[in-house]
Structures are given as structure tokens and as C-alpha cells.
């Protein structure tokens, strides 16, 4: 059905008079393309007007758009009337978000595929060729631009008047610093304020030893943990169970008799003779590698695994790292039982708690 005209060579052709009323719209379009150095070399309708194929495609596109309308309406209905507030169990509210997603997705896909089918199947196929012109500018242009820029420098005469250059730099540098100063100065914060990187909430305050408490603040008796059990404990101070003391969470472990013997020997080797109380040992819960709570305690193998990077610490060998990327033992908290029968920390940790850093001794 496409019609063909004689191909005119782009070079040396007569420009089309686009204002001439007899010229067709396509000719004008083509002329415009030529002015942008584009040659439309192939332009072919895909469907014959009025043909069965065209009617079928039209129906397809239309049904996509109608589908969108349907889905969008469904979205609105669901949005407004579907029970959406959370209820425990398996109620209808659990389908609220999926239904919204489904209807919204179908609506958007309907528009998308409608437009795509329209463009892809009903518009003529074309192949156009455009010149790139991405070569460098002409030597003349480069020269002119270069000279223009140099001209500016020459007119300003920095070379002849060096004082201007020096004073400009001398003036600009401090101004740049002024721009940066509030930002840097406001943000910067001394990391060793109150020696915070080396202390935890277990540091005795006014000579009082700090109790070990549970997450609800109750102090802990030795009888509270069965052999083979472990408990996350916190310093019994104000806000001890909060992120304000993110370095303080500690794992209190009640070792079995044989493991406790091995553990005591290992502790003695690193100079932690009296850190345990009976068969109870307390180690920092904060991994020395990246600071995750290393708290996957295997009570038979006595390994403590960190779930973030799989460092493994052997509790019966004073929490020595035996696998994974951690390079340092978990610090041990020296503990004892006070006269009321509750666990207390004898002192703060004797090693730095938490991930490593440059100035850790």
C-alpha cells in the first residue's frame, strides 16, 4: 500500500517550498528531517487502513486502555471500602496491600502496553539515518575560542600586575575556609570525651560496684540461670538498658562443671584468674569485629557465633576467636556476688569493648 517516489540525492537538491499549499504533510516532515541531516530511508505503514488487521490491533489497544480503566476503578473501590486496618490472624486486611498492588500494577501495565502496542503495531515502521557530526570543531573555530579566552587573561593583565593575583589568592583562600568552617567545625566531635570509648556502664560509680540486671531492670541471682544457660545482662544504672549504653550489653553464661574447669584454666593463662564467679562467666555481647551482638551461644560446643560475619569465639578458651574475621577476644567482665546475693561487676571491662579502632592500645 506504500507509495514510492523517486529518491532524490540529498546533495544538490532543491529545498522544498514548505509554504506551498500543495505540499503534503509528510513532505514537510521529510523536508524538516533533511534540514536536520536526517534521511528517512524507509517508512512503511504496518497495517492497511480499514483492513481486518487494523481493526484487530485497534481493538487490542482499546481493550488495554479499558482494562486500565477497570483496574483503576477497582483500585479506588478497594482503597476506599476494603477493610484495611491491621487485625491479628488471617483476615481480609491481609489482602489490602496485595490487591492495591495488583490493581495499580494492572492499570499501569494496561496504559503501558496500550501505548506500546499503538506505537509498535499501528504506526508506520521507519528507518532514518542521521549524520553524527561529532568531529572536533574546525581549526579556525578552535583558534578563535582559544584566543578569546586568552584575550581575557591578557586584558586582566595578571602577569603585568602580579600583586592582583597574589592578593586575589590571599583573599580567596580564607573565604573558602570560611565556607567550610561552620560545617566541619559544627560536625566535628572529640571521640574521647569522658574517655567514652574505653568505658562502659559497668564502671563503678562513686565506689559502688554496678549490679548486673536483666532487660527489665531486675538484678540477677546465680540461681536464675541453669547450667548451660545464658542471659543478656546490662549495667544496673540509670538508662543501663538502652542504646545510650550500646557498648554495655553482656552475656552472662552459666557453664557446665567440666567446661567451667577448662574455662578457669584458660582465663588464668590470660591473667583473668578471678574474673569468673563459680561456674559463671560474663563476656561482652558486642563483637570485637563490627559491633554486632555476638550472641549465638552453642551450649554444647561453647562457641559463640556472631550472626553478621560469622566470627566464632570459644568461650572455654576465654572467648578466643577461632573462626571468621574477628581478630580479638571478647572482653571479659570480672564478676562476683554481693552480700545480697546478686551479681555485680567487680570493675569495668579491663579491655576495650566493641569494634577495633586505630588508637585502641
Amino acid at each position: 500500500m506504500s507509495t514510492h517516489t523517486e529518491h532524490q540525492a540529498p546533495q544538490g537538491r532543491q529545498p522544498l517550498d514548505v509554504l506551498d499549499p500543495r505540499v503534503s504533510r509528510f513532505d514537510i516532515v521529510q523536508e524538516g528531517a533533511r534540514r536536520d541531516d536526517i534521511e528517512i530511508v524507509h517508512y512503511e505503514p504496518q497495517v492497511v487502513p480499514g483492513s481486518k488487521a487494523e481493526r484487530r490491533m485497534t481493538r487490542t489497544v482499546a481493550s488495554f486502555f479499558l482494562l486500565t480503566g477497570l483496574a483503576a476503578t477497582a483500585f479506588l473501590i478497594i482503597y476506599i471500602w476494603w477493610p484495611w486496618q491491621w487485625h491479628p490472624g488471617r483476615g481480609g486486611d491481609k489482602y489490602y496491600t496485595p490487591l492495591l498492588g495488583l490493581t495499580l500494577g494492572v492499570a499501569l501495565l494496561g496504559i503501558g502496553f496500550g501505548i506500546l502496542t499503538w506505537g509498535k503495531k499501528l504506526l508506520p515502521k521507519e528507518v532514518s539515518i542521521q549524520g553524527r557530526h561529532d568531529g572536533p570543531g574546525t581549526a579556525e573555530d578552535r583558534k578563535i575560542t582559544g584566543e578569546t579566552m586568552l584575550y581575557l587573561a591578557e586584558e586582566m593583565g595578571v602577569r603585568r600586575r602580579p600583586l592582583l593575583g597574589v592578593s586575589l589568592v590571599a583573599g580567596l583562600l580564607p573565604v573558602g575556609a570560611v565556607a567550610a568552617a561552620p560545617l566541619v567545625g559544627g560536625l566535628i566531635k572529640q571521640p574521647h570525651e569522658n574517655n567514652q570509648m574505653f568505658t562502659t556502664g559497668f564502671a563503678p560509680a562513686d565506689g559502688h560496684k554496678v549490679r548486673l540486671v536483666r532487660e527489665d531492670g531486675r538484678p540477677i541471682r546465680p540461681a536464675d540461670i541453669s547450667a548451660g544457660g545464658q542471659l543478656t545482662v546490662f549495667p544496673g544504672i540509670s538508662h543501663g538498658v538502652s542504646n545510650r549504653h550500646a557498648d554495655s550489653p553482656t552475656l552472662l553464661i552459666h557453664l557446665r562443671e567440666s567446661d567451667a574447669v577448662a574455662s578457669r584454666e584458660a582465663n588464668a593463662r590470660v591473667g583473668h584468674e578471678d574474673y569468673m564467679w563459680g561456674n559463671y562467666a560474663a563476656f561482652s555481647k558486642i563483637c570485637t569485629h563490627a559491633g554486632c551482638p555476638a550472641s549465638l551461644y552453642e551450649q554444647q560446643t561453647n562457641r559463640l557465633l556472631c550472626p553478621c560475619h560469622q566470627s566464632q569465639f570459644l568461650i572455654t578458651d576465654n572467648a578466643r576467636p577461632v573462626f571468621g574475621p574477628a581478630s580479638r577476644r571478647l572482653p571479659q567482665l570480672p564478676i562476683e556476688v554481693d552480700e545480697e546475693g546478686f551479681f555485680v561487676a567487680k570493675s569495668d571491662y579491663t579491655e576495650t569493648v566493641g569494634p577495633d579502632f586505630w588508637e585502641r592500645p
Binding site: 530511508v41 505503514p45 492495591l100 503501558g112 506500546l116 508506520p124 553524527r132 554486632c292 569494634p355
Partner: protein, 539 residues
């Protein structure tokens, strides 16, 4: 007084005239509408990233209306019963409210998160396409650099974003991030305490991340994306080699009418897929994670997929601590190498690659034609090597999930990752290199002998031979030069057998047309020109 007749039909023309009077847009607009874009499916991968960024902006703006970026402690009293009465930060409480008490809030949150994952995924896939086809070569090095930066800025956007809800999982990630900053020699502790406003976690990090996530980083992304697109526009898109396609032209479709329609439709499709995923697949169910508490953690704690390779490298790193015995002694922890040094090296290599390659090949020419990966075995193999490296690291980032679900020892997974990281890239290099050479070889064979027809002929002396259909006209085995084009390998591509199956992804060529691959329009310059053939064509 005679009333002037108001001609509705003339309104557009009059308005257009008025606009042009003032802004002189007719000529530039014509150029824009006429701009020719080459058409190939792989050129649409970058569009996915662009469109998902638009969805990110739309959904993100919605979320800001309800999110409260504060770490003030509140007691949750929303409708999700299993957390009611729990003390938590205002940020987490408002994220829960978005999920449970804002109508349609959950789907917006999920769409935002899915489009973030899609944004990063399509950036990576687009980057691979650009790399393997050599589209980064001169004059497009700048765009390659911007693209690489977009990955890292997107990485930051993702990290700051998923840290905002202040839930148990993201808080663990934030804790690791603080440990990474701490591990930097000399300045580590200063940097960390400056960013967190004191010791981890402090009370300000969420508000700082918030302003970074909603203003600074999106601004940077917008600027980079703008320049990226502007350069594509200015430098014109690369194209595959093929008949009629040269280094000096662009063969394809003009922006109007068809190309723009396709783009608009594709945007809607991307949007629709994100909406479907946002509704049908649950992502980041923060209500299970609970508020962040420094002592709470979950098995299988992982970052989002685009951060997972760093998590993997951290898991695989042996416990090598550098101790510097000066004064009290200084430490470079093992965390420093896989999380600071490795990304630094990766950024450096990716930014410098176009220049390294050009220098190595002493190549100063402009390249507007793409290369088939098989034609540049060294580059393709190097890319496969990098990909293998990345995949091993990413898998290692999920090695505890893999170990658990496939019942493999966790320690064995770590060792497999360590060994795999050393072995997989060279193996990938070798295999890819051989594969490229083999594919090239086969192309050359087809060009020399023709396409296998599947017709077996028995020769008079009893031998059986397969009949080959020569590609070149003329008698028998006129050898064709290999010029980096797609070579037809099947008879139905040649048209000799007619369409075997109605193609969907590999549409069948019409017999009369030149042998080309899908997505490569046949563009033999013809002697005649066609024009609109519809009845209304000439008015």
C-alpha cells in the same frame, strides 16, 4: 458591533505562534522531535534505572509526609498489637504507622523499597551492557565515569534510606557502618564520633541520614542523571554495526512519532512492574525486626543486595590485624581492608578503565559503533572475571542463609568463598576468552561456507555431507569478510525456509530483507523512497 468569530481549530496554531514569537522554539524543537535514536533492547536497560528513579521520587515524597526522622523515645500505641507498649524511637514508630495506620502507606513503602532495588539492579545490568559492548570508549569516557559514580551515590542513597526506619535489622547495619568508619586508620574514631555526634548510636544520626537521603543525595543523583542524559543526547547514542551503519551516522527511529511513544509506554510498564512487586511481594517487614536495640540481632542479618558484596568480603576476610608497635600501640583492624580499601580499589579501577584500555591499545579514535563481546575477548573475559568476583562476594554475603537452607556447613561456606574468590575469576577469564574465540570462529566458518541447512546429501561415492547455504552470492564459496556484524546461523533467518515459528523475541525476517539480527533494522540504502501510503497521507 460585530463579534469576532472564535475559531477553536485555530487555537493550537495561534498558541504555538505566540510561544515562538517569544521564545524562538520552532527550530530547536524540530531538531529535538527529529532526533534519531537507534533501537535495540539492550539500550533500554538504562531507561529502567531512569524510570525507577522517577518512581523513587514519587513514592519517596509520599513517605516524607508521614515519616518522622527523630530518635526521641516514644511508646508505640498504634494498631499493630504485637508491638503495642514497646518503647522505640519516633522514627521507627512513624515507619510502623506508615505500614499500619496510613491507608495505602504500606504499598508506598514497599514500592519505594522495590524501586530502590530495581534502580540499583538496572544500573548494574546497564553498566555491564556498556562495558561488554565497548560503549564507554572515546568520546564517552565521561559518561562512563558519571555512570560509575551513580552506582556509588545510589549505594549511599540506599544505605541511608534503609537505615531510616531505625528497626532492628537496619540498626545492626548502622552499627556495622560505624565500625567500618572506626576502622579507618588515624581518623577513624574522629570521623565516627563526628558523624554520629558522639558515641554510637547517639541521638542524631537518623535526622542527619534523613536530610542526606531526601535532599543531598537525591540532588546529587538528579544532577548526575541530568548530565548523564545530556551527554547521551549531545553525543548521540552508540549503535550496533550493521548494513548502512557507520561511525558517522545514527540509524534508527526519529523521536517522533514512534520512539517517544515506546518510551512513554515503557515507563508505564516499569511503573506497573514496581507496583505489582510492591503489592504482591513483602519487602523489609520492619514490624518483625522490632526497634533497634544494641543487644538484639537476628540470624541471617544481611544488607540489601547491592551492599551484600561488601558484607561478603567482610565475611571472607581472614582475621589479619595489623599492629603498629609505636607508643601505646596502634591497630589497623581486619575490617578496614574489605570495607574501605576494597571499594576504594573498585572505584579506582572502574573510573580509570576506559583510559587504561585506550592507553593499552593506543586507541585515540572516536567510537560510535559498538563491539560484539566476542570480538574483544580480552575485555569480555576481564568483565567476566570482575563479574565472577562480584558474584562470589555477593553469595558470600548470604552464605549463612545458603548454609542453613541447603544444609551446608557455615564454616565450609566461608572457606568455599575464600577459595572461590581466588579461583573463580581466573577460571571465568579463561572460559570466557575461549568462548569468545569459539564464537568468532563459528561466525567465520559460516561466512566462509554458508549456513547449515540440515539437508544431508549422499554423494555418489557413498559419503554423506550437509548442504550449506552460502551467504555470498556468486558461485559457491566466495568468502565474506568478518566485520563485526551479526551473522545469520539459521536458515529461517535467511528466509530460505520461511518462518519456522512466529517469532516473539526473534521475529522472523521477511524473505526479501537482508540478513540481520533482531533489533537491527535492515537499512540497506534503497534506490527508492517510500512515503506514507494511507489515504489521508496527502491532504
Amino acid at each position: 458591533m460585530k463579534r469576532r468569530k472564535f475559531d477553536v481549530a485555530a487555537v493550537p496554531a495561534k498558541t504555538a505562534g505566540a510561544v515562538d514569537d517569544r521564545f524562538q522554539v520552532a527550530t530547536p524543537l524540530r531538531k529535538l522531535l527529529n532526533k534519531v535514536f537507534p533501537d535495540h533492547w539492550s539500550f533500554l536497560l538504562g531507561e529502567i534505572a531512569l524510570f525507577s528513579f522517577v518512581v523513587l521520587l514519587l513514592t519517596g515524597v509520599f513517605l516524607t509526609f508521614f515519616f518522622e526522622p527523630a530518635m526521641t523515645e516514644v511508646v508505640y500505641n498504634g494498631s499493630y498489637a504485637p508491638l503495642r507498649g514497646t518503647p522505640m524511637s519516633a522514627a521507627y514508630a512513624s515507619s510502623l504507622d506508615i505500614s499500619f495506620d496510613v491507608r495505602g502507606g504500606l504499598i508506598m513503602r514497599q514500592m519505594h523499597h522495590w524501586s530502590a532495588l530495581l534502580f540499583m539492579a538496572s544500573i548494574v545490568v546497564h553498566m555491564l551492557r556498556v562495558f561488554f559492548t565497548g560503549a564507554f570508549r572515546k568520546p564517552r569516557e565521561t559518561n562512563w565515569i558519571i555512570g560509575s559514580l551513580l552506582f556509588w551515590v545510589g549505594f549511599l542513597a540506599g544505605f541511608t534510606g534503609y537505615s531510616l526506619p531505625d528497626d532492628g535489622l537496619s540498626g545492626t547495619g548502622l552499627r556495622i557502618a560505624s565500625a567500618i568508619m572506626l576502622s579507618i586508620p588515624v581518623i577513624g574514631s574522629w570521623l565516627t564520633s563526628s558523624i554520629f555526634g558522639g558515641e554510637f548510636p547517639g541521638t542524631i544520626i537518623i535526622s542527619r541520614f534523613y536530610i542526606a537521603h531526601v535532599l543531598l543525595i537525591p540532588g546529587l543523583l538528579l544532577a548526575l542523571i541530568g548530565v548523564h542524559l545530556g551527554l547521551v543526547f549531545k553525543q548521540k547514542h552508540t549503535q550496533w554495526p550493521g548494513p548502512g551503519r557507520t561511525n558517522e551516522n545514527v540509524v534508527g527511529e526519529r523521536m517522533f512519532p514512534r520512539y517517544a511513544l515506546k518510551q512513554g509506554g515503557f515507563f508505564m510498564v516499569v511503573f506497573g512492574v514496581i507496583a505489582l512487586m510492591g503489592g504482591l511481594f513483602q519487602i523489609n517487614p520492619i514490624w518483625y525486626f522490632g526497634p533497634y536495640e544494641a543487644w538484639v540481632v537476628s540470624a541471617a542479618s544481611q544488607p540489601d543486595w547491592y551492599v551484600m558484596f561488601l558484607d561478603g568480603s567482610t565475611r571472607l576476610m581472614p582475621a589479619w590485624e595489623v599492629h603498629i608497635p609505636i607508643g601505646d600501640g596502634y591497630v589497623i583492624p581486619p575490617l578496614f581492608w574489605p570495607t574501605v580499601v576494597l571499594p576504594g580499589i573498585l572505584v579506582g579501577i572502574s573510573l580509570a578503565y576506559p583510559f587504561l584500555e585506550a592507553r593499552h591499545l593506543k586507541d585515540r579514535k572516536h567510537h560510535n559503533l559498538l563491539q560484539r563481546p566476542r570480538d574483544v575477548p580480552a575485555r569480555t573475559a576481564a568483565g567476566a572475571m570482575a563479574l565472577a568476583f562480584f558474584v562470589v562476594l555477593t553469595l558470600s554475603g548470604a552464605n549463612d542463609v545458603i548454609a542453613d537452607k541447603f544444609q551446608i556447613s557455615l564454616n565450609a561456606m566461608t572457606w568455599a568463598g575464600r577459595i572461590g574468590l581466588l579461583i573463580a575469576p581466573p577460571v571465568a577469564y579463561y572460559v570466557t576468552y575461549r568462548l569468545c574465540l569459539g564464537l568468532q570462529q563459528h561466525d567465520r566458518e559460516v561466512l566462509a561456507h554458508g549456513v547449515e541447512t540440515g539437508i544431508i546429501r549422499r554423494l555418489p561415492d557413498g559419503r554423506f555431507v550437509e548442504v550449506h547455504q552460502p551467504l555470498a552470492s556468486g558461485d559457491g564459496h566466495a568468502e565474506l569478510d568478518y566485520v563485526g556484524w551479526v551473522v545469520p546461523k539459521k536458515m529461517n533467518r535467511l528466509g530460505a525456509l520461511g518462518p519456522a515459528i512466529r517469532g516473539f523475541f526473534y521475529p522472523i525476517e521477511k524473505p526479501a530483507e537482508a540478513p540481520v539480527s533482531p533489533g537491527h533494522p535492515p537499512v540497506e540504502p534503497r534506490t527508492e523512497r517510500e512515503e506514507i501510503g494511507s489515504g489521508e497521507g496527502r491532504r
